[in-house]
Symmetry: C2
Subunit: 333 residues, 2 copies
């Protein structure tokens, strides 16, 4: 069985390197909670477990990847790194770089979540804002890297970002897969290809389902058509997954490991955020509610099954969050 | 040094039994996140790490104790157990008992947090409400146990509840105590004596500070006067720590392990809840904000130090929570 999987699975990722990644990532990001949330289940009609990636110093899973990247850079004597980010990768790279003496530059859209930008600054990174969306930030980051000769960290393209995220998959497998499906937020693809690779390699019976907002569907359309499909715009509150130009190599990997890719409406994302707050006591950013949104939109598909949803981030602007979950902010201390 | 501590530390708790407890507790409750929350620090003036006890099936630390209790009961062929609870112990005992075929009865005040009562029912426990406070529930639970011949589980008095909670202390010590003080919510005393015992046994240089609401100060007054002091009433939103009649044996232990016990105002508890929501993305129940409240009320004491606060529970009524943190609930799906 193992042999057959090894033969069939031809992604850029390597299971042994993923195991090695687990040994270089700061333990504060590893061994995250995985637990059943029965209070969610009556409304969802299936067994739901949460893999919680928010209880760490950067409140998202992204540091699993940046720990690998920054560790390699430091080992190789690099001094600086630059990345484009909607906010979570930048915050994670700033955290990982700071501990290793790296100068980190993050390029972000000026429309990015303010709380994410504030945290990037607080972690001593240089922050540069572009007057456009994430794709423009990617172009600008590449230009800075060329000009300054610093390492460009490209989310999802750089294999370390995928293999770092893939350590979540190892933890899911180690927990003994009693679940039938894993719901994974799909943006650039690092999380989906990473976790998907490990599941297909070590627990191929588990269904790997990627979830993307209907307002930012480029990678899902690409997966369905088996070729890169770009979009002219992205319109979603799920800022962490709002790309428009899928990376061909990442798509190729995703085609190997994803059993399905589904699109969900904004209203479902918001309903998912509310449910996670009301019934699980979890504050999550929109991207982290995509899994619950997918269940809400297709209860029949999941009825009676055991589903794991990866709660991948909790960096939100407080006012926007209260607006989404249906409460208005009052006076704050 | 170890010898000296062993000689000096004369609590009912036993470090080796606590290590053994760790082996019988369901792993879903162990190895909880411990991480620094830098976003909290500018407002608090010290380094703050969170030990997060809410990301598990019962959203509080209480199952560490009930796992030990229920395991022993099942091993001894018991069929039923009863406890009084403000809600978290009852939920945890229901969870631990359900998995071991025990019939669990929980007695609670009819003024208890509705969300906690709902979860107790959902976990197949029998719930009995009394028209009074937690002390009346304790009396009623004892009467039921006598009448039915079932095991009465008494929070903080039963050594298993303390030694289960004490496994948090082992995890704090294992993480390598880089911190100067640990802030622990003080109610009946299981958490404080448990964690305090381990810290005093294995990391005696760490300051053990208990925090209780000014509106429910019985145990703190007892600790200060070194004798049991009861109060006529308890008035606090921190329902999990609202006892009025300290247990002598637990007080004796607390006198051995606590370096200090402080009282905080309701406004500080609410401010602490808000800060944990706004800056750490954590929904917590009032008891879990006591540590932050203590820092807010005495910034000078903690200035420049590294403090760990145990976030011990997140079971809140959604509407009350929104009221406390300054947001009003809107329409919900």
């Amino acid at each position: 069985m193992t042999l057959r999987c090894d033969v069939m699975l031809e992604t850029r990722l390597d299971t042994e390197r993923i195991r090695a990644a687990r040994r270089v990532i700061d333990p504060v990001f590893l061994g995250t909670p995985l637990y059943r949330c029965e209070a969610l289940e009556p409304a969802l009609g299936c067994t739901v477990s949460v893999k919680l990636e928010t209880a760490n110093p950067v409140r998202s899973f992204k540091a699993r990847g940046t720990e690998v990247v920054a560790g390699l850079l430091a080992d190789n004597g690099a001094r600086a790194a630059v990345c484009a980010s909607a906010g979570n990768l930048g915050q994670a790279l700033a955290w990982s770089g700071r501990g290793r003496g790296l100068d980190v530059t993050v390029v972000a859209s000026r429309f990015a979540t303010v709380a994410k930008l504030d945290r990037i600054r607080a972690l001593d990174a240089r922050l540069e804002l572009v007057d456009g969306d994430h794709e423009l930030a990617r172009e600008r980051a590449a230009a800075i890297a060329r000009y300054e000769g610093s390492r460009l960290v490209e989310d999802s393209l750089d294999i370390e970002t995928c293999e770092g995220a893939a350590t979540i998959g190892l933890e899911l497998v180690d927990a003994g897969p009693s679940y039938d499906a894993v719901l994974i937020a799909l943006g650039g693809g690092a999380l989906a290809t990473g976790v998907g690779h490990v599941l297909k390699a070590l627990a191929p019976e588990v269904e790997v389902i990627c979830v993307q907002p209907l307002g930012a569907p480029a990678m899902t359309h690409s997966w369905r058509e088996q070729r890169v499909v770009t979009t002219e715009s992205a319109d979603t509150i799920a800022d962490g997954v709002a790309g428009r130009r899928p990376i061909p190599a990442v798509l190729a990997d995703l085609l190997q490991v994803a059993d399905d890719a589904v699109l969900v409406q904004e209203a479902s994302i918001i309903a998912g955020m509310r449910m996670l707050l009301d019934h699980a006591g979890l504050v999550v950013e929109p991207s982290a509610a995509l899994g619950i949104a997918a269940i809400l939109e297709d209860r029949d598909r999941f009825a009676g099954r055991h589903v794991v949803t990866i709660v991948c981030g909790s960096n939100v602007d407080v006012d926007a969050y209260h607006r989404w979950v249906g409460a208005t902010p009052g006076p704050r201390s």
